[in-house]
């Protein structure tokens, strides 16, 4: 299919919206009616047709608008993209991985022509047509990581592997759930996760690290993570928290369905061959409560998950103050009926809301 790219904004007037197609393929993150941390990793080798899992780097209707938003963020604050000096080789690895994947997975949108180290890259949606020398930084307008991730949805953390740990030594982070690359760059796996409550005590990070250290070439992995955002704001950065934080107080029972968004991260993990680094793309998907409620199963489940979530997690995810209002809204979509296992919408098999 050819994707129709939306004209939309993720700031100021917030014209972002999901089409029916985008709602149905939204990566709803709860496979059951409750939520707790788990090392919920699986192989990243495709998925159902049209799902966000199908391609290695999913491209959707928000692509062009998200890339415009990223360019604006970087213009305001170049520190959102940084690479420590030893990570340049990993940057080339990432450029190669994304160009090869996208040109194979979306041949109508992206083309890559290689003649030895002379590469020709065509990105039709963004109108880019560049010839450059692979592994020669002087032939690109940015470093290799920045060049390709200015053209790829989602944040990217490039992790060096050494001393049995992973080190956040490069990244581009403009659509984050309230963490600062500029502050966290150079930290190891346990350090950058330090502020996360409960999970350290449960041994989650020790097990997750062990899994990630052993991800091998050709065998990528993935998981989902989630949080909440008021307004479809991609750049919920600590840097700008003093500007956007106040938006959380603008929720009312009348506007919550439209303003409150579930924010889901599709996190994937690829071993990079030339550098032995690991790349950790974090792709953000937003969906308003009112759009989610068009799927009866998701309406029932979201109410139950938010209602039963431990206080520490609701606080860490930044919606503890708004939780009562969310529950008032969500309870209208929960008729107490059982839900089917798994994350998929199951529109044909799940009963309509009876309330």
């Amino acid at each position: 299919m050819t994707i129709q790219f939306n004209e939309e904004t993720f700031r100021d007037d917030y014209t972002f919206k999901n089409s029916d197609w985008a709602i149905k393929r939204f990566p709803f993150p709860f496979h059951e009616d409750s939520y707790m941390y788990a090392v919920n990793m699986e192989q990243h080798r495709g998925g159902p047709d049209g799902s966000v899992y199908e391609k290695r780097f999913d491209v959707d209707e928000h692509y062009v608008a998200e890339m415009k938003d990223r360019a604006m963020v970087l213009n305001d604050d170049p520190l959102r993209c940084q690479s420590l000096p030893h990570m340049t080789l990993a940057g080339w690895d990432l450029l190669e991985l994304i160009m090869v994947s996208k040109s194979e997975d979306y041949p109508d949108l992206f083309e890559l022509h290689r003649d030895g180290d002379q590469w020709h890259w065509i990105n039709k949606p963004l109108g880019i047509d560049d010839k450059f020398t692979f592994m020669d930084e002087t032939t690109l307008p940015y470093g290799p990581m920045e060049y390709i991730t200015r053209q790829t949805q989602g944040d990217f953390c490039v992790l060096d592997q050494r001393d049995d740990n992973l080190w956040m030594d490069a990244g581009i982070v403009t659509t984050q759930a309230d963490w600062s690359l500029d502050f966290d760059i150079g930290m190891n796996f346990f350090e950058w996760h330090a502020p996360v409550p409960l999970a350290h005590e449960k041994g989650i990070f020790v097990r997750a690290l062990k899994f990630l250290l052993n991800i091998q070439q050709g065998s990528p992995a993935r998981r989902l993570n989630w949080t909440m955002t008021v307004n479809p704001l991609l750049d919920t950065s600590p840097e700008n928290y003093h500007k956007w934080g106040v938006q959380k107080t603008t929720l009312t029972p009348e506007n919550i369905g439209e303003k409150q968004h579930l924010r889901v991260e599709l996190q994937t993990f690829f071993r990079l061959p030339r550098s032995n680094a690991l790349v950790f793309p974090i792709r953000c998907y937003l969906c308003s409560f009112q759009d989610l409620m068009t799927v009866p199963k998701w309406g029932r489940r979201l109410h139950r998950v938010i209602r039963d979530l431990p206080v520490e997690l609701a606080t860490y995810k930044g919606f503890i103050d708004n939780r009562p209002m969310m529950l008032d809204y969500l309870s209208k979509f929960d008729d107490g009926k059982p839900t089917s296992d798994g994350i998929w919408p199951d529109l044909e098999t799940e009963p309509a809301l009876e309330k």
Binding site: P85, H86, M87, Q216, Q217, G218, P273, R274
Partner: protein, 321 residues
């Protein structure tokens, strides 16, 4: 899932006998496609169909990591070993089809290093062959010290000294040439990393001397894959799969489990990576631990075993597999 890696079907494209002990094997992909690139220090696990036995041995990739047309390994013949290297030397010909794993790197360069100081003994030269090519492309700062038994057994000495006369230092045992380690380590600039690959004695010597001279542990990298050693046969009960299996004299516990269809993960098959770590549920006898993954107190605890290289002697052993 067993090995954490995918497999690649290959065809032997060239076999080069380097000297009395070492032979190089070159592979092309059977499907005609390109190999994945890799990072210097990576190894591949090669599957050998030796009659009824499938042998899985790890070898360092020594070709240029950027060359996607050919993979190369060098194999030292071990007349005392269990036969993997003998199989490669005696039973493999150009045109044969084999299976390799995707590259796995447990001996990676620390790319932050301001200088890479490489110390090789014998066949331990192979990972450095790829690392040197990687560093040459990146204009890296490196220096190699390579000890061989004799000129006749000095694999790749000519190639190394002709291409890098100023960075390669060769030491022949039979000419009483030895690495002056203390002097070598003394005076290295801050940010130097040591890499050592060779016999166990050499690795222990370098690590010990570096520690004595105040080098940080993180600046000393080493790779030593052990080959499983033969031993007395023993019996193991596998609790999860509910099987009792026999481990033969010439096979490892890991191989015996695989033969019986029991899934056990692995990456290096040489006691180094930790993937096959297995919990012991009960035992009556003594362990012969040979890995360098578990800590000494773990070896003493009787609670864990690395089935790739370690064995058991005694009455009963029950494992959580």
């Amino acid at each position: 899932m067993s090995a954490g890696t995918d497999k690649i079907a290959v065809t032997i494209s060239n076999i080069v006998k380097l000297n009395d002990l070492v032979t190089r094997f070159e592979f092309k992909r059977t499907d005609g496609e390109l190999f994945p690139t890799f990072s210097g220090g990576a190894h591949t696990v090669i599957e050998m169909k030796d009659g009824d036995i499938t042998r899985l041995n790890p070898y360092s990739l020594m070709s240029d990591p950027r060359d996607q047309s050919t993979y190369m390994i060098s194999v030292r013949r071990d007349d005392e070993g269990r036969g993997g290297s003998l199989f490669m030397h005696n039973n493999v010909s150009v045109g044969d089809e084999m299976v390799l794993s995707y590259p796995v790197n447990l001996f990676s360069l620390d790319l932050r290093a301001k200088k890479h100081l490489m110390i090789a003994g014998g066949i331990g030269i192979t990972p450095f062959m790829a690392q040197i090519k990687q560093l040459d492309h990146a204009h890296g700062n490196w220096e190699l010290h390579y000890a061989c038994r004799s000129e006749a057994l000095g694999s790749y000495v000519d190639e190394l000294t002709s291409t890098h006369p100023n960075d390669v230092n060769i030491y022949y045992d039979d000419q009483k040439q030895f690495i002056d380690l203390e002097n070598l380590l003394d005076g290295q600039p801050l940010g130097t990393h040591i890499y050592v690959c060779g016999p166990k004695g050499m690795i222990d010597w370098v690590r010990g001397k570096a520690a004595e001279l105040g080098w940080p542990r993180e600046a000393v990298h080493y790779e030593e894959f052990l080959a499983p050693q033969p031993g007395k046969p023993f019996e193991v009960k596998l609790a999860v799969s509910n099987k009792v299996i026999q481990v033969g004299e010439q096979e490892s516990l890991l191989e015996a489990m695989e033969r019986e269809g029991v899934d056990a993960p692995y990456l290096c098959r040489g006691g180094a990576c930790g993937q096959c770590e297995t919990n012991v549920i009960g035992y009556d006898g003594k362990f012969i631990h040979r890995d360098h993954w578990l800590e000494e107190d773990e070896h003493a605890s009787g609670k864990k075993i690395m089935p790739c290289v370690s064995r058991f002697e005694g009455k009963t052993l029950v494992l959580d597999r």
